[in-house]
Each structure stands twice: as C-alpha cells, then as structure tokens.
C-alpha cells in the first residue's frame, strides 16, 4: 500500500518535540508493552514515547520479540463480524439469496401451472368447444398439429386485454348455452364467490401462455380453490378455472337448489322442500341432511345456508325460520 507522506516540516517538528525528560523505567515500559498499566499511566507512557526516540526503540524491540505474550498479533478492530464492510457484503449476499429463492420458487410454481394446464387440456376442450368463437379458435390453436411452445417469457409477455378477451366470462358462457346468467344466490353463495375472486386476485392472473400464433390460451391452476355457484334453474355448478368455465355438479335428481355455502372442502346446498345436502370433499360425494327439531322435520324451501366453520351453521327457510346446528348437521334447533 502506498502510504501518503507528510510534509517535511512535520518531520522536522516531530524531531524538535523530542524531550530529554526522565524516561520511564523498564518496569513501566515492559508493562506498557503488555498493556498491563492503568489507562492513565498507559497514556502518560505513550505521551513520552511519542517524544522519545530511545524509548520508542526499546519498546518496539521489546514488543516485536517472538514468543512474547505482549506481542501477540491482534485481530483487526474493524474486522469484526458486525463491521460495515461485513454488513454491506452480508446484506448483498442476503439479497441475492432472497431473490434467487423467489425466482426459483416462482419458476417451480409456473412449471407446475404449465404442467397442470397441459394435463387438463382434454377436459377443457369439451367446454371450450361450447364457448365463444374466439376461445374456440384459441383452443384449436392449442390443439393444433404443432404443440404450443410454452415458455415463461411468453407468459410474462401476455397482456391484460388479451387475457380478458381470451377468458370467457360466465355471461359469455351462458350465451353459449353452458349455463344461464349467474344466479342470485342468497347467503354464503355470494360470499363464497367473492372469496374465490379475492383468492384469484391474490394469486395473480392465472398463468396464460401465448402459443406460436397470436392467440392466447388461458392456463388454469389446479392449486386454486374451486368456485361454486347456483344457476338460475337451481343446479349446482363448480368452476376450477376461476369462473372461466363451469361444470354442473349432480347432487340429487330433480332438486332445485336456492342456497349455497362453500367453505373449503365443506359444501352445503339447500333447496326446495327442505332439501339439504352436504359434501365434505369438495363435491365428490354428497350426503342428504334431514334437519329435525322437536321431532319436526324441515320441510319448507331453504333459501339461505350459512356455515361459519365445519360445525356451526344456520339454514334460513322461505317462512323465515332459522335452523341452527352446532355439530355439522347432526342435531338442529329451530328459532
């Protein structure tokens, strides 16, 4: 390291400051080297040393002798693990690790989404065939001879406008004849749908990939919770693609449902003549629940179902009766 020099006048005056005062005895000089003097005494000796060439020689020769306990090489003061350089580099490394982790997780997530989409291409086709012509075209493109090249860059390149155009809304689907307009479902049905919408928002727009052509094919994520709704004709419908397409779920023949409560895997649907069905596996299997209170069964139309958790819920009837359960429908109380 090239050390900065000092003006000659400084050297001269340093020389001139040399004193001929009483020198510290070897006891003090030795103790100074060993750092065993009190702070004040240490400073006084240092003050003398700064002016006395002879004592500096003695101290230096003493301190630099090998094997001398007082001459142990000390670690750099600023080289502690909390020093600024360490903190700076530490922060940089931490940032790199965090960014790397996020990118890796995102890549894995996107890969899963893409795989899921490709695996669901066949079932989607059936619905897409009935949807808008544009979606149909997109589907055709996807199912074309040349398989779509799915890349992350393309995913990032998608545009919101295209998304909107490519994703048929429930209304569009109703026009296409898959379902009717969204049912005016009281109670939890709306809340459930709203929840789903929020979760969709949080998860970001479902991954979409641009195929080799200009068309944009919507990708769906199986990780997203299914959305539930009741059609105007009282059928239960489920969407696994954030409402882009809907499937009718057969719960019971000829039953018109008017109320829906969806809470994770727990689905409750109620309808005409006290028909109340419960699924605890997201609609795979259904059980009819027959509420009875005071030996009187529920026979009126159910117009509202609300479940705050898996056990506690209430059912509202067309005659404004409220049936309450606290054990997942095992027992009921009427209010």
């Amino acid at each position: 390291m090239l050390m900065a020099g000092i003006p000659r006048i400084v050297e001269q005056q340093l020389h001139a400051m040399a004193t001929v005062e009483d020198h510290p005895d070897p006891n003090l000089l030795g103790a100074f080297v060993e750092k065993s003097l009190a702070q004040g005494e240490q400073l006084r000796v240092l003050e003398h040393l700064s002016r006395c060439t002879t004592c500096r020689e003695i101290v230096s020769l003493t301190a630099t002798q090998p094997g001398f306990a007082g001459a142990v090489l000390v670690a750099p003061v600023r080289a502690g693990w909390l020093s600024w350089p360490v903190l700076r580099w530490g922060a940089a490394v931490a940032c790199i690790v965090v960014v790397g982790t996020v990118v890796t997780l995102r890549q894995q997530h996107e890969s899963r989404q893409i795989e899921a989409t490709i695996s669901e291409q066949k079932p989607e086709k059936q619905i897409s065939a009935l949807s808008s012509p544009r979606a149909k075209a997109a589907e055709e493109t996807t199912a074309g001879a040349a398989k779509p090249t799915v890349t992350r860059q393309m995913t990032r390149a998608m545009k919101p406008a295209e998304n909107h155009a490519a994703a048929p809304s429930p209304v569009e689907m109703a026009d296409a004849g898959v379902g009717s307009r969204l049912a005016e479902v009281p109670g939890r049905a709306k809340a459930a749908e709203s929840q789903d919408a929020q979760s969709m928002k949080a998860a970001g727009n479902a991954a979409q990939v641009e195929t080799s052509g200009a068309a944009v094919v919507p990708l769906v994520s199986t990780n997203l919770p299914p959305r539930w709704t009741l059609s105007s004709d009282g059928t239960l419908q489920r969407s696994r693609d954030s409402g882009r397409s809907w499937q009718t779920i057969q719960v019971a023949d000829n039953t018109i449902f008017r109320a829906l409560a969806a809470n994770g895997l727990e689905i409750w649907v109620g309808g005409a003549a006290g028909a109340l069905f419960h699924s605890s596996d997201a609609g795979q299997h259904w059980t009819q629940v027959r509420p009875v209170a005071n030996s009187e069964p529920l026979a009126d139309d159910i117009i509202g179902v609300e479940f705050t958790d898996t056990l506690h819920g209430k059912v509202t009837t067309s005659v404004q009766e409220i049936w309450i359960t606290a054990d997942a429908g095992q027992t009921w109380q009427k209010q």
Binding site: R8, I9, V10, Q12, R56, S60
Partner: protein, 307 residues
Amino acid sequence: MPKQDFQPEPGVVAGLDALMAELYEKSKGEELGLTRQQFDSVLGEIARKYLPSDAAHHDLRGLYMSLRAEELVLARACAAGHEHAWEVFLTRYREKLYDIAGYITKESSTARELADSIYAELYGTTTRDGQRTSKLASYTGRGSLEGWLRTVMVQEHVNRYRRQRRLVSLDEETEEGSQFATPATEVAIAVDPRVEAATDEVLIALPPEDRFVLASYFLDERTLAEIARTLGVHESTISRKVDKLAKSLRKQILAALGRRGMSRRQAQEALEVDVRDLRVNIRSRLAQEKGGGAFSKKKAEAPADGS
C-alpha cells in the same frame, strides 16, 4: 534480604491490610523467605515510586491489585540471595535470557555476551555501600517478570550500541566512508516561523497515540507491523491511521497557516518547501543524548547527509 524502611502512611494503607495479606499469600513469599513485613515494605516502596504521597485509597488499592505479586516476590527473593528463589528463577528464565539476547543482537557471540552481562547484573556483582546490589531488586511487578527482563535486555543492548558508536574505530569509519563525507552545509534560507508554529500547534493537538504512530513510521521508519505489535493492534489499523493522519495533517496545517494570515497559496507553497533545504539542522534538534545517533539500523544515516 535487604531491610526496607517501610513507613506505612496512615490513612492510605489503612483498610488495605486484607488485600496485602491476600497478596502475600498468593505470592508464596513465605516459601521464598520473604516475611509479611518485608512484603509490606516492598509494596510501600512501590507505592511511593508510582503514586503521589496524597494518592487516594482506591488508587493504592488498584496499584496493589495490578501487581504480579508472585513474580515480585521471586525477584526480590533472588535479589536477597535466596537459593531456592534462584533455582526457580534460573529454571524459568535462564534459557529465555539467551533466546531474547539472540533475537535482539542477531548474532550468537554478541547474544551470549549480552545475556551473560545481564545475568551478572541480575545476580548482583556490583556493590553499593559494601552490599551486593541485584538488578532484580528494581523489578516492581508492574508487568510480568519476563517482560521486564526483555525490556532490560533491550535497554542494555541499546546502551551498548550507543557506547560502541562513540568508540567507532578509524578503520570502520574508513569502511563506511563517512570520514570523507562532505561536511554538512547550512543553507541560508529562513523558515517562516509561522509554518513552524502552525505545525507545532497541529502536532501538539494530536492524541499521543497518533504522534507515536507518526514518529514511529516517519522518523524511526518502523514498519506497520512493528508499530502494530507495539500498540497491540492489527497492522491494517495502523495502515489506515497513518494514511488518515498524513492526509489530515496537511489540511490542519494549512488551516492553521490560514489563521496566521497566510493565503491558501502561500500556505501550500510553504508546506511544499523541502525542509532539507532550510537552514534548520534537524539532527541538532533530534539529538536527545550527546553523541547519540539513530539506533535503528534502518534509520542510521550517514552523519553528513545534510539532513
């Protein structure tokens, strides 16, 4: 054992009895033939040496607690001629004395000569008032006995070196060529007293450690590692300090010159003047001891180099 005239000062030593007793026990003085009274006497002598007569109780206590009691007693027992103490001393330090001498002198015969000389002083060959005086009697336990021995040996070596320089032979001078050197010429250029005053002001305002580092690095030409080991810090710390000091000194002197009425340009020009060209004879100002030259081989310069 030489009798010490210890007169405990009332009010100062009072209350320290328990501490002194504890120190005496730790020092194993009894085994080495040092009585408690003699031990107290030694402590009193050390207190008088390092503390003012009106030192506070806690200062005295702090001093006593910092002493290396066991080594102090060993040294004093040796000085008193205690046989077992000498056995212990020689077992511990005899080899070290020669090792230290070897490192200091870098030459085996000189090292042995130095070690033997020190050994003789420690044993006490000189007499004062008919009594043998041992150098070990001057050990006060402020640092370790080994550290003291090292310092004493270095001091002795420096003194010998200086004595030898005064008696340098004509042949040696001829070899060095210094007898033919051109006599130093004093250039008649006056130093602006304001520059000297400003520099002094800045230097005096520096902390002692900074001055020590400056003097060690720029005057003594010590290496960063040597300075670092002396101060017990890392070399990089000294490197940064030297660099910072060198930069800040110039600024501070310029500022001080500005306060003394110099313009910035004048001040800068004044600082750029090489002092070797001035009539100031640095050597004469440097000399602390008559006939004393620079000890270090690194900074030993020809006496007539003009500086």
